[in-house]
């Protein structure tokens, strides 16, 4: 049984309320930080913990905090990115729905460390009911004196607001999120300047994922070094994984980083194996935008070592034979899954969600979707595979924000690892249903 720090109390009745949350050790980090630590000490603890951003990029949080510009007389902001829109990722929702105070507590502690008097939780529009849960929690926190003026009798004051977005995927990109929060069109900004220098309303801003902020609480309470003991190498601590797809027990699991992927998929504690006793075909390990990996590469690296759930191990081999931990959206596909069909779903999503600001992404995502649609319709030619490869290579790395990459990587990986499926369709001149194909193979055996 792995150690749990974030959602260990999720089944406690009434944990959504402040009273029960407090009984289970809630708001201890605020007490400890405000009464016994300076803001810089809190930042140091976070640095020591080795906590990395849980939103997808995995950037060290302590380092991000230390980049925050601190000019005199200029407000600083903490913004929580709760615009969890990556297909296959639903961990933040689970956390906010079940233990909303964990996020509020993390917001207060982090705001203290950063010197932010105002903090925002930017939540996606589809999570309107979660926003209500958070608002109730914030109201409770205000009434109990955890938010507002002079918290715990100190001179630290903090206000926290929930801002509901309109449900655009692009608003999960930190600068687009800030634009949207300012009331503008959610277009990513051109960096530099980075938000740490000029973010919300042009003031220094830190944007962190829900899980990252919630993880600050156990770090402050137990100490950064204690947190760093969990996990493996530079992947410290625990991570929430949203497991979905063809597994027996889909859901949100908190794992210690460094857990073998094989154990995660097959053990009863976690996913419980592939549904209906089927074989594993492929896994998208970190949300739809990371490269898909076939079964043999997700269980073992190209070098033959067992693949672990950590930033380094999943990234082993680069994109040739590796992938990314990303946001932890773990999508498992069994042997009957058509990778082409799956890719079409992803491509359609990125086409729909492109903001349209820069040309490669605006035009390229739609083009890719149309070409993949040809495979679904069975009208594709073999040359279309090369065309797809070429289009994705011309989007990747040429765009303002990472959405271009997010759209290009799944296409590249599907062609890299499952080219045969595309070619089969192109040669047959009709859509080849993989399940049908597999059944035929079984009969032949």
């Amino acid at each position: 049984m792995g150690k749990k720090l974030l959602i260990h109390n999720d089944k406690v009745p009434g944990i959504q309320g402040l009273a029960v949350y407090r009984q289970h050790g809630g708001y201890a980090s605020v007490e400890k930080a405000l009464k016994t630590m300076t803001p810089d000490q809190v930042t140091d603890e976070v640095k020591k913990s080795g906590l990395r951003g849980r939103g997808g990029a995995g950037f060290p949080t302590g380092l991000k905090w230390s980049f925050l510009a601190k000019p005199e007389g200029v407000a600083r902001y903490l913004v929580c990115n709760a615009d969890e829109s990556e297909p296959g990722t639903f961990k933040d929702r689970y956390l906010m729905e079940h233990i909303p105070h964990a996020l509020i507590e993390g917001m207060i502690t982090s705001s203290y460390a950063l010197g932010a008097k105002v903090s925002y939780i930017y939540i996606r529009g589809e999570y309107f009911y979660v926003a209500r849960i958070l608002e109730v929690a914030i109201k409770e926190a205000y009434e109990a004196g955890w938010l507002g003026k002079n918290i715990l009798g100190t001179d630290f004051s903090n206000d926290c607001y929930v801002h509901v977005g309109a449900g655009a995927y692009i608003c999960g990109e930190e600068t687009a999120l800030l634009e949207s929060l300012e009331g503008k069109r959610g277009n990513p900004r051109i960096k530099p300047p980075f938000p740490a220098v000029a973010g919300l309303w042009g003031c220094p801003t830190v944007v962190n994922n829900v899980e990252t902020i919630a993880a600050v609480c156990p770090i402050v309470v137990n100490g950064g070094e204690e947190y760093a003991k969990i996990g493996i190498g530079k992947s410290t601590g625990t991570k929430l994984i949203s497991a979905s797809g063809h597994i027996n027990k889909p859901g949100v699991y908190e794992i210690e980083l460094g857990l073998p992927v094989e154990e995660f998929i097959y053990s009863e504690e976690y996913c419980g194996g592939i549904r209906n006793g089927k074989k594993l075909k492929a896994v998208v390990a970190g949300g739809s935008s990371v490269p898909i990996l076939p079964a043999e590469l997700i269980l073992k690296t190209a070098k033959g070592e067992p693949r672990l759930m950590s930033y380094e191990s999943l990234g082993d081999g680069g994109f040739i034979s590796g992938t990314m931990l990303g946001s932890g959206g773990f999508i498992v596909m069994d042997e009957d899954t058509s990778i082409v069909k799956n890719l079409f779903t992803f491509a359609r999503f990125y086409h729909h969600e492109s903001c349209g600001q820069c040309s490669p992404c605006r035009e390229g995502t739609g083009w890719m979707e149309k070409v993949i649609k040809k495979f679904i319709n069975g009208t594709a030619n073999e040359s279309d595979v090369d065309l797809l490869w070429d289009i994705q290579s011309k989007i990747e790395g040429k765009t303002i924000c990472p959405l271009g990459e997010a759209a290009a990587w799944p296409v590249a990986a599907a062609i890299r690892h499952f080219k045969q499926e595309f070619l089969d369709i192109a040669r047959a001149k009709k859509f080849v249903d993989v399940s049908h194909y597999n059944r035929l193979n079984k009969v032949a055996v």
């Binding site: 051109i190 349209g356 490669p360 605006r362 739609g366 083009w367 290579s393 303002i400």
Partner: protein, 327 residues
């Protein structure tokens, strides 16, 4: 700050962008730019045609930048080494960007008023390929009047945001912007609003393609049959310095003066642009400088005709086949 672009070194002040530095060196290293406009703040970064490779970030940090950067929005660092035309990777990327810009473009140049002074045409000629690989229906929009004298062909738009920035920065109260998202985004006005102010016509001048055109000039004449002259008049609203496009004695249109990068030098008011279409309204200073490679310079300058005659003579002397002769 010293910066090297395609092997050419230049000393520039702090805060200069790579594109500006390249333009200081000259046309041979300057990357093409569609959405950047030197007179508009925060323009650029959208079209991605000016992507360059930074082979060395600075003297202090000599690592290359991991991805190609938009030169119009990236400031130079001391000792930066930039590759533009010398990098095959960048040429390939630019070719990709041009292809993306063109897949949904109607390619209606034969009936487009911008033809001949269109940046997308130039870009296509320089970096595009002869055939398209796009086999799907192109995106279509209705042609609309976006202002009293401005026509919007959204089909042709490349979403450079220049017109939005003009409205933001030189007029009070922007009435138009980008609506929708992704490849269905379009330039449009707020509900029941039109672009209506004294400087609204400048959106036409900054449009790099034929998306925004002057309704008083539409279908009047191909630009290469007109003769641009620099002229001025006394104007209370603007500097009155404009470019007047003549055909014989007739003033066909008035635009702002463009610099060597085809970007407006000064913005002019609608009064000058639309209301003064007689030659007597203007004090003509002389012919406007026109790029020799531009189609507008055709038939304008005697020396070009002479050159043509000379070349034909040479060809004849070398024994080239005369295509005009009947067999």
């Amino acid at each position: 700050m010293k910066v090297t672009i395609d092997g050419k070194e230049i000393d520039v002040p702090k805060g200069t962008t790579i594109l500006q530095a390249a333009r200081m060196i000259g046309h041979e290293v300057a990357p093409p730019a569609m959405c950047y406009h030197s007179k508009l703040k925060t323009s650029g970064g959208y079209c991605r045609t000016c992507l360059v490779k930074v082979a060395q970030g600075s003297t202090a940090n000599p690592n290359p930048m991991p991805k190609p950067v938009a030169s119009c929005r990236t400031e130079v660092m001391d000792g930066m080494v930039v590759e533009n035309f010398t990098s095959p990777e960048i040429l390939e990327a630019r070719k990709g960007v041009v292809e993306f810009l063109l897949i949904n473009h109607p390619l209606d140049c034969p009936v487009c008023d911008q033809a001949g002074e269109c940046k997308l045409q130039d870009l296509g000629y320089e970096n595009g390929s002869a055939a398209t690989r796009y086999e799907f229906k192109r995106r279509e929009f209705e042609v609309i009047d976006i202002g009293e004298k401005i026509k919007l062909h959204m089909n042709r738009c490349i979403l450079c945001y220049r017109c939005v920035k003009v409205a933001d920065q030189i007029t009070d109260g922007r009435a138009h912007g980008v609506i929708s998202r992704g490849d269905s985004s379009e330039i449009s006005t707020y509900i029941e609003k039109v672009i209506d102010n004294d400087f609204s016509g400048n959106v036409i001048d900054v449009c790099p393609v034929g998306a925004l055109t002057d309704k008083t000039f539409r279908f009047k004449q191909r630009v290469w049959f007109t003769k641009p002259v620099d002229a001025h008049r006394d104007c209370k609203k603007c500097s009155g310095k404009a470019r007047v496009w003549l055909k014989g004695e007739e003033v066909l249109r008035v635009t702002s003066r463009k610099d060597e990068w085809d970007e407006s030098e000064e913005f002019i008011c609608n009064d000058c642009r639309y209301e003064h279409k007689r030659k007597s309204d203007w004090v003509i200073e002389g012919p406007s400088p026109v790029n020799r490679n531009s189609v507008i310079s055709q038939n304008q300058y005697q020396h070009l005709n002479e050159l043509k005659v000379q070349i034909m003579k040479q060809q004849k002397a070398l024994g080239f086949m005369d295509l005009n002769k009947k067999p």
